[in-house]
Amino acid sequence: MSTQRLDAHAAALDARVRNAVTAGTLATHRNRRRIFGEDYADSDALRAAGAAIRQHALDHLDEYLPAAEAALVARGVRVHYARDARRASDVVLDILRAAGVTRVVKAKSMVSEEAGLAARLAGAGISCVESDLGELIVQLDGDHPSHIVRPIIHRDRAGIAATFARHGLGDHDEDPQTITLRARRFLRERFFSAQASLSGANFVSAESGRVVVLTNEGNNRFGAAAAPLHVVVTSIDKVVPTDRDLGVLLALLPRSATGQRATTYVELIGGPRPANRPSGPEVVQVVFVDHFRSDILGSEWHEILRCIRCGACMNACPVYREASGHAYRGVYPGPLGAVVEPLLGDAAHYAERVDLARASSLCGACADVCPVQIPLPDLLVRHRARATRERLAAANAATPPMGGYAFLASSPRLWGLALHASRLLRFVPLARLRIPLLSAWLATRTLPDWRGGRFRAYMRRRRGG
């Protein structure tokens, strides 16, 4: 029987990558647990509040999105909408061209990765440098991030040093301090010469119109201070009802993402700089991108939109750890990716990507750590149900059919017969039988002795029958 693509990727994975991913995720997973235990007697109550805030925001997005827009406009921010990823890149390009921009520095924005924005800008002759260290290294290598918070979790210092040396940032030096200082110097030049800075948004307050950006490096703080134009590219599901609600989310996000109480910088962007200040954007623009969010909102997977992009689920996931982020083939890896990636496209995309939803033992470690209590395992199984109904061959590869089983299990007499008949298997070399389930088992495991019907006989004897 064939096996699934993600399993093949895991089987072929370089041991160094697996070790790096394992070390990185386990450490953060443990830190997360420790900090929640220290800081909250009942962290589930905090997560429940986070879940309610996010779900309420989504369930009233028809009010909160226009409210966010109005609040932003009242702060002197220009607001744009883009129905999909392609339009998002179009809008950003229009903004940049209108301002005569050819040099951009960019802080993290997941939705801009969905849009392939960097490639669009490059194609238009606009240079766009990633300012987050991990994203910069990914950019220099033409690689893809393998984790939404720790983009180079799969890399080690030797590889990073080689990258820097290859790109003229100094001779080969693996010391993390040196690597970081080189990145600081390299980006400085870019920050000072950039004509625009780009970022995503962790949250947008519908009440005050403040755009919230969390970083540890200070890359967005610097970028937005140095450039005359700042463009925020974010998805419509980032809207949060009130500033007060930010308190709960700002408590949950850093702890869930990195085991920190707070990231070094939390910026509340509230409009362009005052006229009497020399640094900061004269113009701030926000692009709200839909790109399938409104579809997901009306679907049986709508809870996934609560996601605050903390990465805790992938840090907890033993499958992610064995396979690494690139095995998920898209922008979002891990449990988050397994649920959302199939939904970020049309039906053909769904069929191509929904195998990811089978790459799970449904252990529930992800649901346990999700700060907004997304029922991830349930959402994965919903994908499996849809893939089954739609008979999606690739997605259903190596999935045993259940018709025969259901037939047997609905008929006690047949079930009993099968139990008895299977006793004969003791005399059969099982490994020779071409029964996929059996072969799969026996390839790496011994099978216990068959005892079919014994308990039933015992209970009959007790009844005196």
């Binding site: 033993p318 499958v319 089978r358 349930d378 199984v381 089954t388 259901a406 609905s410 006690p412 011994t446």
Partner: protein
């Protein structure tokens, strides 16, 4: 979702055998009966039972799942608790079945069955209010919680019962709640990852050289022991019910 439980009235219970015990682990089922009877229960075994439908749920064949659960509705129709020596099967009824029956005519009946379906340790401690287990067993025990028991009182109940047995020492396990990679059909489509996860789990459980590895779920132990023995290693697996029965004077 773990159900809202009503207080358990009376002592009559129906045993949900589970297909694994039906096929391989009759001793686990007889041990479960012994434990329940020791706690004062009258244990009924509806012989027409077959399976909980979980394999069909997890593969996504929800039509097949519904057929199997509809049969279970008939089999366990008597309004008394249904007790299973497997957290995964109990969860199949109280968490998964309500999902596949959303919007279906039988949804209320499924919900009613869900509310009175229990895993064994949870039932003993939280249903019958058993506070400690009598008898004696000299053993260092590593507990494997089993992933279907996340978010339920089962693991705490199991550890409470085991820890209360005179002579039992529970040994700590690093990253104790890490999945062993069985996941039923998962191990078929993802054999490499399933085995890799399982071997890590076996190593973690055996690291403190326990006398017994005990779980409320035989399915996980079957996978772990299968991997260990295939690799030529011993793996002292024992189901929770067997330990409870063995400890009894």
């Amino acid at each position: 979702m773990y159900p809202q439980r009503s207080p358990v009235q009376g002592r009559r219970v129906q045993l949900m055998l589970t297909c694994l015990c039906d096929a391989f682990y009759d001793d686990v089922a007889t041990a479960a009966v012994t434990a329940l009877e020791h706690a004062g229960c009258e244990v009924v075994f509806p012989a027409a039972q077959t399976c909980c439908g979980q394999p069909a749920y997890t593969t996504g064949d929800w039509d097949a799942c519904r057929r199997v659960v509809q049969h279970a509705l008939v089999v366990f129709a008597e309004d008394v608790p249904v007790v299973s020596p497997a957290g995964s099967c109990a969860a199949a009824i109280f968490h998964e079945a309500p999902i596949v029956f959303e919007g279906h005519r039988e949804a209320p009946a499924v919900r009613a069955l869900a509310n009175r379906t229990w895993e064994l340790a949870d039932f003993l401690v939280n249903g019958l209010r058993v506070e400690s287990w009598p008898g004696r067993l000299q053993a260092r025990i590593a507990v494997h919680p089993g992933c279907h028991n996340r978010g339920t009182p089962t693991v705490a109940a199991a550890e409470r019962l085991l820890g209360s047995i005179d002579g039992v020492e529970l040994v700590p396990v690093t990253d104790a709640d890490l999945c062993c990679g069985f996941g039923g059909v998962f191990s078929v489509g993802f054999p490499h990852i399933s085995s890799a996860m399982g071997l890590r789990k076996v190593a973690a459980l055996m690291a403190a050289a326990p006398d017994l590895v005990v779980s409320p779920d035989m399915s996980c132990l079957m996978h772990q022991r299968g991997l260990a023995e295939h690799a030529g290693e011993k793996f002292p697996a024992r189901h929770l019910a067997q330990v409870l029965r063995d400890a009894l004077p």
